[in-house]
Symmetry: C2
Subunit: 494 residues, 2 copies
């Protein structure tokens, strides 16, 4: 008697059909063999006869079997290649070099799940601005009623590109036309497309060290040679730029990620000159340059790009929220067609309704008011965290990089970098989420530091987080283990 095993997924007739096919494919039901009667099979499987009849009919319709009136149903004569049926799934699947390299880094890619800690200072958690959210919902609802159902232009809706170009002129000092803009599914897509279009595997690319990990992983998957350059309070140390061979430099001039330095004008000039001398490209990631808490927003590096060498990436993950998955890239005229083609080839363009909603929000002027509103909320949060740390963690932390954006860096000069996990665990016990800066380094992190994000918590919670963090730091510092670490650290200092 034929033994069929149902997989308990979906409708019964489909389960029976799959089980029959599998039996045919793996040879248990040979070509020409007669299938059991529908009545008998229904009985064995404990399903209705109609279910089996239905599966038989589909089997015939797909050519696996033939029915002969009065004579039953027979497996069709076909030649399953010997061995196909063995179920041998490739253990080490053959991947392209890109696939192998992407797979190698896969475990490091940030998961979307955040820790569920009451006081989670994780970077990237969105600023939950009720004003932005309700304005967005209204815009989305209006766009859903109006927007087209056909394929969008791959480069993005003209209305949105035009609104972005206007916005950049007003707020970032960039003179761009709508045609210079390509709408993207976020910063990461900008990085990915720029690297594909501009960098061949094996070529050298300058990267800030530490840096945004998505850029580093994309470069590793591409097979580029990464030249990590140190940063300080003025951003990338441009005097270390290589004298030859680099095709591209990836930079965050407005607010170095993650250490928070602002690239000085002298260094901007040096960087532009370097790009010109070496016929290299500059990829400017302006992920949070809008949110400048001390003084006016600085114009983007792109605003100085008389030479057409800067590719500028902007994102709505910070300006609005990350779930939106919208960003954009501004490219020099000489690269327009190549980037438009790359976007077409990557996904034929982004969702129309989201683009239409955002275009309307921007064109009406509401978006800019909402961004200013978010900037004020962020400033309050930044100040609350700074005040909290000053009060409760005085002497334990050296705070840097808080002049813009949604995060700051807190260095712990008394701690060895490898003692950070213990500190993180101790803070988690008190429901405070803190995050080492270590993973952002390409090289070994030279000192212990934390990347503290403040966008996701209210001012009062940021104060409470600091209040809880103080004793955790004090305990770690005074504990014997860390004292020993501290001693070792000093001795090994160069």
């Amino acid at each position: 008697m034929l033994h069929l095993e149902l997989d308990h997924r979906g409708a019964l007739n489909q389960q029976v059909l799959r089980a029959l096919k599998r039996a045919i494919v793996d040879g248990r039901l040979a070509a020409g063999a007669r299938l059991p009667s529908s009545r008998a099979l229904a009985h064995t499987l404990g399903v209705s006869r109609n279910t089996v009849v239905d599966a038989f009919e589909q089997l015939v319709a797909e050519g696996f079997a033939c029915g002969r009136v009065g004579a039953g149903t027979f497996v069709a004569p076909s030649q399953w290649p010997r061995g196909v049926a063995s179920g041998a799934v490739a253990r080490a699947p053959r991947l392209a070099a890109y696939g192998r390299r992407a797979l190698r880094g896969e475990s490091k890619l940030q998961p979307a799940e955040r820790q569920r800690l009451r006081y989670n200072l994780e970077y990237g958690a969105p600023l939950v601005s009720p004003a932005m959210q309700s304005a967005w919902r209204r815009a989305l609802s209006r766009a859903a009623d109006r927007s087209a159902f056909d394929y969008p232009p791959a480069q993005g809706l003209h209305a949105l590109r035009s609104a972005i170009a206007d916005y950049l002129g007003r707020r970032r000092g960039i003179a761009a036309a709508a045609d210079d803009v390509v709408v993207l599914g976020g910063t990461q897509q900008g990085v990915d497309l720029a690297l594909r279009v501009l960098v061949d595997p094996g070529q050298s690319v300058v990267l800030e060290d530490p840096c945004y990990r998505g850029t580093r992983y994309a470069l590793q998957a591409l097979g580029a040679r990464i030249l990590g350059l140190p940063v300080d309070a003025e951003g990338l140390r441009v005097e270390r730029l290589p004298r030859a061979g680099a095709r591209l430099a990836c930079i965050t001039p407005s607010h170095q990620f993650p250490t928070g330095g602002v690239l000085s004008l002298a260094r901007r000039i040096e960087l532009l000159g370097w790009a010109r001398r070496h016929d290299a490209w500059l990829l400017e990631d302006d992920y949070d340059g809008e949110f400048r808490h001390d003084g006016r927003p600085l114009a983007a590096l792109k605003s100085l790009d008389v030479d057409g060498r800067v590719i500028y990436i902007g994102s709505f993950s910070k300006l609005a929220f990350p779930a939106l998955r919208l960003g954009f890239i501004v490219v020099p005229p000489g690269l327009r067609r190549a980037f438009a083609a790359a976007k077409w080839l990557a996904d034929r363009g982004g969702p129309v309704v989201l683009q239409a909603a955002l275009a309307e929000l921007m064109a009406s002027g509401r978006f800019e008011r909402l961004v200013r509103h978010s900037a004020r909320a962020l400033l309050l949060r930044r100040d609350a965290l700074l005040a909290g740390l000053a009060t409760h963690c005085a002497g334990q932390l050296e705070v840097e990089g808080g002049s813009a954006g949604m995060h700051l860096t807190a260095w712990l000069p008394w701690l060895r970098p490898d003692a950070l996990p213990g500190l993180v665990a101790a803070a988690a016990v008190r429901e405070v989420g803190i995050y080492p800066i270590t993973p952002y380094y390409h090289s070994l992190a030279p000192r212990a530091g934390l990347l503290l994000g403040y966008a996701g918590l209210a001012a009062a919670d940021l104060g409470e987080a600091s209040r809880r963090l103080g004793p955790v730091l004090a305990a770690a510092r005074s504990s014997r283990g860390n004292a020993a670490h501290f001693g070792q650290n000093r001795q090994s200092k160069r």
Copy 2:
């Protein structure tokens, strides 16, 4: 007197700021030079003094100038690299091999704009189903009120992946779990990711000829070697599969695109055996397999994939509408992690609100009812076009491939392929849009044919389109020029 030219883009103070910076960068304002007084500059430019003062302040804030109380504003001492200012935009920008190849094919990528013809038989125009549209709007509005604002999981929302897996089990005979599914921004992203993960530049890939152009262009940009194989009424002619060296075959087994053949079971078996023997992958693009007008839907090739060699791409462009930009890929367990990583690296995941809305629509069962409703509407349109062509174009066309989907193929055995543009122009005069099959071929098209899409027109319009097309065909056939072509064609026939 300093001559500044404003670029008339955005706010006046920003225009003045940009003009000043440009003058500094290109050396017209040398380091240490004194800027004109704000009053004088305001007068020259015809703007308010405040505007100029504001620009000066920003210039100082950004480090381009220093202000000395009572002494005016001076250009900061900085060393602009000689030559940066030349405005020399690279004429032939240095691109990576990928960028160069993408650029080479750029002019062929389909534009989003469709022709504005009253009776446009263009393939890809969406079925405008009011029921689908209003259900979608309601689901989107509900999702906007509920969905999260943080980054999504790169692989897609679990609720959506789970709904897709269920749907595939019921409707396409595929036993997939939610973890086998990666949510994508449409079919093209599936093609792009699969090629990146599985194929190295220079490797051979089997392609149907003719085929979906997005796959061909993506392969060309990747630098793969394309092996075009002919198709017939049973789909890919598998006996022509290469005996060695191919890494992947890209196929449309449910409804060959664009000629419309359905891959027979015998060929499916042969194809699976070939993949096993050669350790190759199969990329199944099931773009419209749901819409089977004659007989029940055939299960996907993936349903026979006991071996874990089939990567299945599905799209919501046909099931719902193209502006949505959502699709998915089902990968064998051995490829899951590599594809999840590739999706993270490509764009960190798709928009949350669209995924949430679609998940709800699918889980509620409404989506499937709507798809069935669309299938009935498409069947009516297909029948209207077939009836119209039979009535008005009898003897002029050989119709094929209309058993599924949203298009059919009409061959013109009496016409030379190079005479098609004239026919297209003559039809356009009568407000009928017809489209040669020629561009879908990798090789030279062996005969003249049209790809006629019927999703975008109501049944009555399809009848009228046929009524108008009849005389156009008859005139072309009887015209002297075409008679000559026809003769030549016969002589050169092999």
